[in-house]
Symmetry: D2
Subunit: 421 residues, 4 copies
Amino acid sequence: MRFCVNNYKAFLLKTSNKLTIINDPIYGFITIPKGLIFDLIEHKYFQRLRRISQMGMSYLVYPGAHHTRFHHAIGCLHIMRKALEKLEQKGVEISEEEKQAAMIAILLHDIGHGPFSHAMENSIVEDVHHEQISLQFMQALNEEFNGSLTLALNIFKGTYDRPFLHQLVSGQLDMDRTDYLKRDSFYTGMAEGNINTDRILAMLNVKNDELMVEEKGIYTIEKFLVARRLMYWQVYLHKTSLVAEQILVRVLMRAKELTQKGVELPASKPLAFFLKKKNAEGVFDKNALEIFATLDDYDIISAMKAWCTEGDFVLSRLSKIIINRELPRIKIKKKPFKNEFIKAEKDRVQQQYNLTEEEAGYFVFTGTLTNQAYTFKKEAINILTKKGKVVDVISASDQLSLKALSKVITKNYICYPKHLN
Amino acid sequence: MRFCVNNYKAFLLKTSNKLTIINDPIYGFITIPKGLIFDLIEHKYFQRLRRISQMGMSYLVYPGAHHTRFHHAIGCLHIMRKALEKLEQKGVEISEEEKQAAMIAILLHDIGHGPFSHAMENSIVEDVHHEQISLQFMQALNEEFNGSLTLALNIFKGTYDRPFLHQLVSGQLDMDRTDYLKRDSFYTGMAEGNINTDRILAMLNVKNDELMVEEKGIYTIEKFLVARRLMYWQVYLHKTSLVAEQILVRVLMRAKELTQKGVELPASKPLAFFLKKKNAEGVFDKNALEIFATLDDYDIISAMKAWCTEGDFVLSRLSKIIINRELPRIKIKKKPFKNEFIKAEKDRVQQQYNLTEEEAGYFVFTGTLTNQAYTFKKEAINILTKKGKVVDVISASDQLSLKALSKVITKNYICYPKHLN
Amino acid sequence: MRFCVNNYKAFLLKTSNKLTIINDPIYGFITIPKGLIFDLIEHKYFQRLRRISQMGMSYLVYPGAHHTRFHHAIGCLHIMRKALEKLEQKGVEISEEEKQAAMIAILLHDIGHGPFSHAMENSIVEDVHHEQISLQFMQALNEEFNGSLTLALNIFKGTYDRPFLHQLVSGQLDMDRTDYLKRDSFYTGMAEGNINTDRILAMLNVKNDELMVEEKGIYTIEKFLVARRLMYWQVYLHKTSLVAEQILVRVLMRAKELTQKGVELPASKPLAFFLKKKNAEGVFDKNALEIFATLDDYDIISAMKAWCTEGDFVLSRLSKIIINRELPRIKIKKKPFKNEFIKAEKDRVQQQYNLTEEEAGYFVFTGTLTNQAYTFKKEAINILTKKGKVVDVISASDQLSLKALSKVITKNYICYPKHLN
Amino acid sequence: MRFCVNNYKAFLLKTSNKLTIINDPIYGFITIPKGLIFDLIEHKYFQRLRRISQMGMSYLVYPGAHHTRFHHAIGCLHIMRKALEKLEQKGVEISEEEKQAAMIAILLHDIGHGPFSHAMENSIVEDVHHEQISLQFMQALNEEFNGSLTLALNIFKGTYDRPFLHQLVSGQLDMDRTDYLKRDSFYTGMAEGNINTDRILAMLNVKNDELMVEEKGIYTIEKFLVARRLMYWQVYLHKTSLVAEQILVRVLMRAKELTQKGVELPASKPLAFFLKKKNAEGVFDKNALEIFATLDDYDIISAMKAWCTEGDFVLSRLSKIIINRELPRIKIKKKPFKNEFIKAEKDRVQQQYNLTEEEAGYFVFTGTLTNQAYTFKKEAINILTKKGKVVDVISASDQLSLKALSKVITKNYICYPKHLN
């Protein structure tokens, strides 16, 4: 390169395009605080989130669902600041350092997500969970920014001694959920999942450094939980998204399997790295992290487009299923499907397309879905009564409905190719 | 391949996932008519629009602007049906064939758009305009569907003898503009550009087979034109989007230039095809069209990601500018910039980074912006007065403001790298 | 009068001001069908609903809640038409007569409401229920319009042999509830009560002439019931509205009591008529109906304003409580209040203000609140499964939450004047 | 009365019903500051605004337009606080006293409005303008609250030495207009008049103690002015509202005329007072002010209801026109109507109904409408450029459209009874 690194920053060309106010279709103007938070957003680790979709394959069902993890993280930042301001107005003392750290913690809470994260974690990077990667990115940034993220890290990990700050980042009523329910509902057009962020924030309070909801907010919380359950069944676990994601998992599994056997598949450099990499002990080394930081939706989709014409039948067929939206049949039932039924479908596919049993398993497969809107044992939502008592939201409500929301629902599914007529 | 093409359709696996109702965040439920329209939407030529962003580089300014041409086309289909229903309720006779054809014409009006269309047309496919490609796709589909798109084609081309149907597809108040202003305003969060689709549709009428706006709709039209102008200056011509798009044009120009010189750049098959292709006589042959049908945003962005580490300084620098959002400085003025100023900037860059004059021109360049909300000479918006007369919207209005909207505004810009401190 | 009745119609002066399109903040444009429906809306029986607030005293808590029964009825008309259109699109055959009759039935379903209806029915017109008055108005209109409301009357009464038409007018998921939940939520700003009308209408179907909800609409229904319960507890039974309404009941009771004893109170003619009238056998005679047709909110509020300075302490005090918004204390508990507590409060007030025990009862009183979002025994919401079976919404849901919604909740309240410090 | 005034406060019964958070359909939660502002809202002078409609007769055209001056004043309070907060964030120093005073000034800016204010000022209280009454109420409250409204009064009158505070209360871009455009657009459903309050507030700044709009807000301002003009023509000057208001003026004029001649008309005490009162020197004495404080919409509408059956033909006919919504014909033209035409209509009415010429003038009358969205001479909207210069919005814009908005438009109208067929 005819270009010396020292000049790089100078050449960056930017200055006048600093985005300090962002237009958000949901909250209106979002002001980005200057300084550390602004610099973190400008960092390439964070800018990469612009190329990672928040809802993975859901756009095949909800064509509006193309919003990114970048946008969600910015939204979280915004409502975290709002929440902290509300709490301060109610007399909760929060220092400037704590405020900045809480905002950083929520801004970066999902920075470890890769493209189609849940599919990836079930295929090519199954050994390293996105929370772990988020932590590693935050630690790397903490080094780069000379330790100024230490408090944010402690809040993120839950080791800081004022638990409400962690609870705002990660809990049953955290800013992450508050933003994504709102945002996903907005972009999918699934109006039933819409929640009233302003009201939720207005109902928060803190007692003994624990996050509380004021008693009058009980219906707001109930509506939040109902909306959440609804989004699960109608959106996140929508059978068509589900089948698309399961096929994606199998595309990636197959690609890794072939790569490990020595087949050279077309793939971008970062994707090729992870297809070749042996899975290991739950963390990334420095090199893997740096390469992971360049992996996004474009690597995955581009690869699948190229794989549509690859020689391996399983890989090309599965890729086409997604690229051309030719999705298989899926059935959902309360009870598990009978082994005979599964076997018969596999046999049919195996015979019809001349596949091995293992290959047929890429097209005929089963699984379970589970959903629980509210877990009342762990991380309860605490209600602060008018008289100053703290009770769990379930005992505070005089309704059975919240109890109902804490029930675990499990369903079974099977996917298989359509029968010939 | 162990797989015979005759079996392909059977293997398509689909059936139960037909999307006949689509959730749209803007209009709510959109019902897709079964039959020909449904089949066109399922076609891979149309499904590819799911991977082509409506607003190109604008997401670098408006992080919500990730909606696709697929979504816009579906939205157009919806309001076209609404518009036709409204006109029928007012007594305009429209046959079932005409209705279907008008819906198909609007559904497919933009099918020829490639990824980052405006940038592409100014770089690697500069010889073939997207309207031409739309027409070629429609003709190809017409063949595939045994001539059933003939009326739609005539409406699209404006050769059908009831002009209002063409005017609904392409005119100053067509369903294309009506949807994209609404949709772009929604996804960017630029509330000032929001228009009231229901009111616009309610004001439409037809006289002598020409599209009219009823007199009481004059303020609605005025607001539509004001909103349109506003979206131009604040969104479509936003200086940061503009600079990003201009850089993208130069990335693609440079890549084509290098390729034509024999340099092998990493690129997907369809992109490689267009980088190698000599530009020609304004149409695609069958092969080029088929390859164009597989080209989308993922090819372009993935290539730029790979080019960030290519040896050519110009190509790698320009690619990084976009991928890492390190945009150059842009200035906008009414008067043209002085030659001395441009020259001085070029010299600076040339010298500083050891570039040729031609190479420096990739980083320092000028251009003009132009915008006119309403052209009153060609394709006027006709107002139908209560007494049944037809007048142009400008003379119907007692305001100067519409006249103002028809004035052409031109501005000059210059882009150049930031100065060293 | 120098004015002969025959000339009256000619002198009506109107013509060009016919409102055939109404702007509704909720649904946008509402088109009023010409002919009978338009004439019914223009009728003074219906125009009077412009002066009757939908939510009574609620505006003392929710300052936006000033919408009228006129507006609600127009909204019902609109969504009834939408619902009928949706059903027709699904293949349900509905004749033009049936459509018009169903629209008339819903338009007039509440025409018998007087001002502050619930308070009135518990005080000065306690013998005649508003449903009865609606029926009488409809019968009077049927006479005036030469029998053209006969089918509408049958649908209203539930005697027509296609039950779904009655169910759309009056049932657990009727157009009345669908509009008032939406409208009351909108005007109070109680966003949690917002429901998605479009989705509800899109989910309706008919089987064996009974109204059904399609299976995929189960979450929509659940959200409807949750929203309804929420509106009850947070709005309709809001303790401040409740106390205001209870005071209003007592103002009217006291005024009637005094009038019956011969005291001449300032009151408009129609109000004076009902204060003097002995309560009787559950129906109005023709004269009473005609006078009732001129009674509205303005009579009640104006009278209370005048009564603020009347000699009777109980009447003037109660009137001031409302007019100047000086509301008493109210407590709500699950268990009934103890007799000793009630007695002590009464004694205190009696002694302090030198009242009789009976008079003290106007200021210290108890009662119960009850609410049940869904009654599953009577008028169930039927779910039509994909396979064509009909099941009750509760058994169709795999959630406990709907069962919870059908539980009856009862609460006790006490109102009493504030203690002296 | 058996009731001593000292006990009054104790008996007020209130305490637990203090509304410190108000639900607003437009802004969500509005928090009322405790202390002086809260006490002013609770004052009966202010509570009376609950019974005064913001938009007078407009509900006859827009059935949703029943919002009150109370609600508007609360809305103004809210956005004033928001505006002050925004300015502080931009570094404008504003003391706590100034903030409270500015909020009080906007809260009370319209407190002098009577029922159907514009009609009243053109009939029974034509000598005293509502601004004068607002000032008198504020002075009375200042006395009652021991001088604590002095600064608010100075801001209201424009005598305080920091002009931007007055400009926020009363100017071309004040919080009054900002709220009423938004609110009236919301309640009428006239979506075209909707403005983006958040954006307007975000664009405000202060230089040399004068209110400014930042340069980037120029399109926001333009949209504000366009929306304002639109609301004038489509809502405030809607011909049906206009005719209703003109008839109301004549009802009140006739009632006053008859009263002054000695006719005893049914009327509430406060209305009777003003019908009897001779008009005088532009101010109210203390007694008149106190009585005015008890006059509201209920007095006017109730009186008209009673007057429908009065013996005077002009009074009863005009009253019925409003109560039963039987409005006369109105024509609007750019040029004045010819005298012959006016004369012919008057003759027709005079002869047909046996009226005097003067009486006929109550039914046939002419007038002019005028509207100007922006006055650029007086109280300009100042734009603060990026370089810190201050220019008028018109010269800052490169569009003719703003110039157009400053043009005065005048139209002529005539009202007359429908012709007999």
